[in-house]
């Protein structure tokens, strides 16, 4: 039998021999307690080690986790960072948010492909590199950005792309690449109550212990603190429901899967304010009676994993995590970090819990809600990073303090991730109630045509609405704030978001699985100059269907970008209405593209006559 060589290539081992070495896998399994509930974490480590998940590794997992092969494959194929096919020794993923595109990400990707003789989405023949696009990586304030073997590289430019191509050609290990490539700037432009707080680790826990859990919950209630993930559910209500729910264990989960295109504020909080976040989780644990917490960190923020683990370790050593926290008998709580692997849907709390349990990130049927039936079917609080950070300040300063800041139904401050056409992209913290106009002024935006608030699922505002306020009672947001000036084509903005939803649909329910792809094809049809009034009516009909029949919020909001831009920027669509009557989406000359590519033909004879 022919035995393939065990190759060591660049900084990544390829597993191609017939008798793979399983000692490495044993260590991974050991670390994850041989527990199938940690399947996703195990798969992420295998992917990281080999660049893909080799079939031999699945054989091993099947035997050692007593987990059926189909289950492993079904989980592995759900997450876009995992792959059952070999990927390049260097896997380069270009963040494909509209803000990356506005700064030339598409041509930079082409440049890299040309430099390396690679084709997007395909493994190069020598197995050295694969290049592809991925959903927004949370670097919109320093884009274009890429992930190289899962690690963030920012501020891409043509010269930097050429340098990277050279490093890849020379197979320089990632660890030896220039450090400045990996530098991620916080870009904090405006600080308010939260970012100015000069928080001392342990101070909120001391306040909690002095005041007692019951009274601290009362303070959270008084503060009116609402979830910062976008939906704005009252934190105290969630915590109280979880506290009162019967269960052998209770859990606290920090949702750090900020996947809305254009948002990056959780990245900054986890990078520079992690103590405040973790302390918020810890006091929540005390209130609801949890001993175990999780930070679900999106895979795009892989570079934050070790720093966060260090913070956790430091806090354990300072007795702020672990057993008998701050010397209080029975106050036991610890936190594990779980990584995501490229699935926007896992930001939805029940999908996140499924993912935490090592499964596909499919949103659950609700009710029951996570507060009663969450992680491992136990009562679970899931809150956003910023919500926990704010909770720490409430414990420290009292509920009335927070209630005194912000707008009537939205107490406190909000971190906005500002990106797009402005002079100073970055983090802006404002008391709730700030006008869109004020933000635009502060970030140095000019000739602004539109602002997309709260990401692809959010709302697109035109200039006559810039007087509206960022608050749950007016324009609610998870934090994304993308600015588009007069040069931008709002149809293309909407089309980018529609592609995003089609890519991120989990595929569970019919309307979203098929509908988001149909919508994508219809928007592409318009972009190809084949649109007619019929197609507009179709798009609106489809939007209606997605809204009413979808299983979860992804499907419900997948139509927002189109509905919003049609209502406000109709001329951008009218331009696409090239035909009075319906024409088919199928375009014979375009369908011949592949044949032309295969035969290397570019001449007029390779096109249909009418196109000559």
């Amino acid at each position: 039998m022919k035995r393939a060589p065990f190759r060591q290539n660049g900084n990544r081992k390829r597993w191609e021999c017939y008798m793979p070495d399983t000692t490495y896998l044993d260590a991974v399994l050991e670390r994850h307690g041989h527990d199938a509930a940690n399947l996703l974490q195990i798969l992420i480590e295998i992917q990281q080690e080999h660049g893909y998940i080799p079939p031999q590794a699945i054989d091993q997992l099947t035997a050692k986790l007593a987990c059926p092969r189909v289950k492993i494959e079904s989980v592995a194929t759900f997450y876009s960072f995992l792959s059952l096919e070999p990927q390049g020794t260097y896997r380069v993923l270009f963040s494909d948010n509209i803000t990356d595109r506005m700064l030339g990400s598409e041509s930079l990707m082409k440049l890299l492909c040309t430099e390396l003789w690679a084709e997007p989405g395909k493994l190069s023949e020598d197995g050295l590199v694969s290049v592809d696009a991925t959903s927004c990586t949370g670097m919109s304030d320093q884009s274009p950005a890429i992930l190289v073997n899962g690690i963030t590289v920012t501020n891409l430019s043509a010269p930097r792309v050429q340098e990277i191509a050279e490093l890849i050609r020379k197979q320089v290990p990632l660890a030896e690449w220039p450090a400045e490539y990996f530098h991620v700037e916080d870009n904090i432009r405006r600080r308010d109550a939260l970012l100015n707080s000069n928080f001392q680790p342990g101070s909120a826990l001391a306040a909690l212990l002095a005041r007692g859990a019951e009274q601290t919950l009362a303070e959270i209630k008084t503060s009116g603190l609402r979830g910062r993930g976008g939906a704005g559910f009252t934190a105290a209500t969630k915590w109280e429901a979880c506290r009162n729910a019967p269960g052998a264990q209770h859990y606290v989960v920090c949702n750090a899967d900020e996947g809305e295109p254009g948002t990056f504020k959780d990245r900054v909080l986890l990078g520079s304010y992690a103590d405040m976040v973790i302390e918020g989780m810890t006091l929540c644990a005390r209130i609801v009676g949890a001993q175990q917490g999780f930070i679900y960190l999106r895979g795009e923020y892989r570079y934050l994993l070790e720093p966060l683990q260090q913070v956790l370790q430091r806090r354990r050593e300072a007795n702020l995590l672990g057993k008998d926290i701050l010397g209080t008998p029975g106050f036991d709580f610890d936190i594990a970090i779980h990584l995501g692997a490229g699935a926007y849907i896992c930001g939805e709390e029940s999908a996140l819990i499924e993912s935490l349990e090592g499964k596909r990130g499919t949103p659950r049927n609700r009710p029951p809600f996570p507060v009663t039936n969450g992680y491992l079917d136990q009562p679970t609080v899931v809150n956003n990073v910023e919500t926990f950070a704010t909770a720490s300040l409430v414990a420290l300063n009292g509920g009335a303090w927070l209630a005194g800041i912000g707008a009537e139904a939205s107490s406190g401050t909000k971190l906005l991730s500002v990106s797009g056409d402005c002079e100073r992209p970055g983090i802006y913290e404002y008391p709730f109630g700030v006008t869109v106009q004020q933000v635009l002024q502060d970030c140095g935006a000019q000739d602004t045509q539109a602002v997309q608030v709260s990401g692809a699922a959010g709302i697109c505002l035109a200039p006559d609405e810039f007087g509206r306020r960022i608050a749950f009672e007016d324009v609610a947001t998870a934090g994304s704030f993308m600015v588009f000036d007069q040069r931008r084509d709002m149809f293309e903005v909407a089309r980018n978001f529609v592609h995003f939803f089609a890519h991120e649909s989990c595929g569970f329910c019919t309307p979203c699985r098929v509908g988001t792809s149909l919508l994508k094809n219809m928007m592409d049809k318009l972009a190809h100059g084949l649109g007619s009034p019929y197609d507009f009516a179709e798009i609106e009909r489809l939007d209606q269907l997605l809204m009413s029949m979808s299983h979860c919020g992804l499907g419900h909001s997948a139509c927002n970008p189109v509905l919003n831009t049609v209502a406000r920027f109709r001329p951008a669509y009218d331009k696409r209405m090239s035909h009075k009557n319906y024409v088919p989406a199928f375009d014979l000359d375009r369908a011949l593209t592949q044949a032309r590519q295969m035969t290397g033909r570019k001449d007029a004879g390779a096109h249909l006559e009418e196109y000559e």
Partner: protein
Amino acid sequence: MSRETFTLDGQDIPFEQGQTIMQAAMAAGVYIPRLCYHPDLKPHGSCKLCTVKVNGRQASSCTYQARDGLAVESNTEELNGERRSLLQMLFVEGNHFCPSCEASGNCQLQATAYELEMMTAHYDHFYPDRPLDASHPEYLLDFNRCILCSLCVRASRDVDGKNVFALSGRGIGSRLIVNSASGLLADTDFSGTDKAAHVCPVGVILKKRVGFAVPLGQRKYDTQPISDLPKPGIEEN
């Protein structure tokens, strides 16, 4: 003592504690369209055909617990129109050629489409590439017709205790896969006596060498619409 009831299109439907709207409706002999529901299996709520309006809000009737006094709408022009669109989506997502399909006449997708008067596929077809699996000596898998209802997945896992099937991929790339390193049914522990062999609502899981034993035109839904059967659509193939 009066039993608890909810109304379904104005008709009083009694229910027992713990029943879903779907279960109560079926017990009362009222048809709600569905494809991913099977009374013997845990409900999934993914096909969305059984979407009803509960007190004005959309919900999947197969997962929604019945409660006293609910006002449920199902057989309305609006909901049936939306269900028709869902059926059209399922038809264009896969490769469905009814005239040559062994399941024609026994197919719940086809029967439901007749029931809801779906006349065309309406949307552009995706024409996915889904190779057949004819490896098993007794059974054939024609993935072209798969509507990703997961009934075979649930039957194999929860009834047969085997995990022969699973859904893989994501979004429009979702696919049914089987439990073997080769990816072939022959290399799994699948058997014709499995529950999973008999729950496919379309024509994916087919027994070999018995094709067209009952002539077209004399099959289950050829003689009676799916809504008229006493327990419509649940008799096993």
